[in-house]
Symmetry: C2
Subunit: 329 residues, 2 copies
């Protein structure tokens, strides 16, 4: 996230404690935010506030900045817990928090950071923002639950429609819909009803692109282990697409691989399945679906922002959203 | 908790979803609350509201009930996460949530329940309550962190003072100090500054009694596995007290036992250490410390409530607090 926003987050979090044990908790809470995420959601929220007429340096801008800190804090505590849930190895190019400190301390640090997120909501003091953040957590937790339940229960009888419904909940609200809405609320405006459909389409584009990058990105730029989604058994669009068309032998090998615990999955098997996915065309087809959702979402968003008080800022949002579906990290 | 409070909690939580996966999340969120905890913190909060002049059936009573629902929701999401952090086997006489559904789904359900706790705070709409709940989570997470860090880092070089400082943070605020304060806030009163010292002493009495029960209770009444704290490596007052005086051979055997992962700790070893603790007098001495803290806390609380608008309700609090240090479940 932007340095000034990280500074703002840091003013909210405790820094020093005389007891070394508690100092460790404080350091753990500051760890992920300081690793320098992209800050996509904060930027979108601030762009939305601008488009709705908030000028930098005004009290409303100050409120928008606290909401931007809110969505960044949300992202960071959720990532700590996600990394435990998926037993991910890396986050932003470094070991996941629970890999360094163990699950119990990392889980608790995520809870502590969650509470500080609510302190940021209170500092923003924007009518309607509290309820908006509540809804954001409700939907994201539902989507995360669906994603995890498929893994937990070994479900592969899923369609692309199932995937898109999961992604709507898990990704679209907190990544696009809610930042757009919170930006409007910071301006004292009623959020456009069209933000929902636009954000759902753009959120799907964003998540599919994220899944594609997990298979194809440059590891140094991406910040997570390549193919990690396969090792974690994630149900992605390209996997579901590929499964529908794969030769019986490859399908059987894939399902056997997926029944193994992560630690027993061999790098050779992971590479072999990665090759199948890439050469089958499933990755390209998934990217095409992402592009299509991006086009739909951008058109809806363009219409929703047609009467925005600051048209230049509105165009900035559209450019930012367009990048999401084609980004390389 | 009381049936009417459970009903209130249920009105806040979602009940039905067309997607079976999300229905499972909703069922998981309702699981721990429906297992019938004692509701100690809610009762204390409501008694404090009454002592400060809130009459049942008034709008302020309705607000106090939402705050009571808040502390119960807090207790329940924290227990889901605690049980993961400690890898506990049982909760309220049934398997811990992560033992039935796996860590990922249980962790996420705890997060979802955490968010609904904030919905209860908003429903209460009591000035000062939001900040009070924030502080409650901050302190509890710090205490929980200290407790877990000692286990994670294999620390046994601890004194009874270390234990009491940990318990102040981990238990006293959310069990006693904050319920007393929230009850006052529901009445529109300024909480007595003495609630802090009183609550810290009573919270210590409560936690020590809880630790004693974990070693000595009737399993059917207690609802958790007896000796579970030993298997989880909890640093309790009697263990620290016993370690200071134990024969070198017993001390060495204990530290070897504690270096083993939970699954490798044999029931025979657990029983042997339980016997050492019980016969050493450490359990009785810990109970005596609990009694002493209870006496101190009750005297402080009695003075703090001397001018309470409803003296009968104030006496009810004192009786309730006295029970905490001598309870059998």
């Amino acid at each position: 996230m932007r340095p000034d926003l990280l500074d703002r987050v840091h003013t909210l979090l405790p820094a020093h404690h005389a007891r070394p044990e508690i100092q460790l908790l404080y350091d753990m809470m500051r760890d992920y935010p300081a690793r320098g995420g992209k800050g996509i959601r904060a930027e979108l929220l601030l762009a939305s506030a601008r488009a709705h007429g908030v000028r930098e340096g005004t009290p409303a801008w100050e409120q928008a900045l606290w909401l931007a800190a809110t969505v960044e804090l949300f992202q960071n505590w959720v990532l700590i817990h996600d990394d435990i849930e998926d037993d991910s190895e890396e986050r932003r190019g470094q070991p996941a928090l629970h890999r360094t400190h163990g699950v119990p301390l990392a889980l608790n640090a995520g809870d502590a950071l969650h509470a500080y997120m609510w302190a940021a909501v209170a500092r923003a003091n924007v009518p309607g923002a509290f309820e908006e953040v509540l809804q954001m957590i409700h939907r994201t937790a539902e989507g995360q639950h669906v994603d995890l339940a498929w893994v937990e229960h070994g479900r592969w009888d899923l369609t692309p429609a199932d995937y898109l419904d999961m992604v709507r909940l898990k990704t679209a609200y907190y990544t696009v819909v809610v930042p757009l809405r919170l930006g409007a609320l910071a301006a004292g405006a009623t959020p456009s009803a069209a933000f929902e459909a636009a954000g759902v389409a753009l959120g799907a584009a964003f998540q599919i692109r994220d899944d594609v990058l997990n298979l194809t990105a440059d590891a140094g730029v991406y910040g997570k282990e390549i193919g990690g989604d396969l090792q974690e058994g994630k149900r992605t669009l390209m996997v579901l697409d590929w499964l529908e068309r794969a030769p019986a032998s490859e399908r059987a090998a894939f399902l056997t691989y997926m029944q193994q615990p992560r630690a027993q999955k061999s790098p050779e098997d992971t590479r072999r399945i990665l090759d199948w996915l890439r050469t089958s065309g499933a990755v390209d087809r998934a990217q095409a679906v992402a592009d299509e959702h991006a086009r739909t979402g951008l058109a809806l968003l363009d219409a929703a922002l047609a009467d925005a008080p600051d048209r230049a800022a509105a165009l900035g949002i559209l450019a930012q959203m367009q990048q999401l579906a084609t980004r390389h990290a």
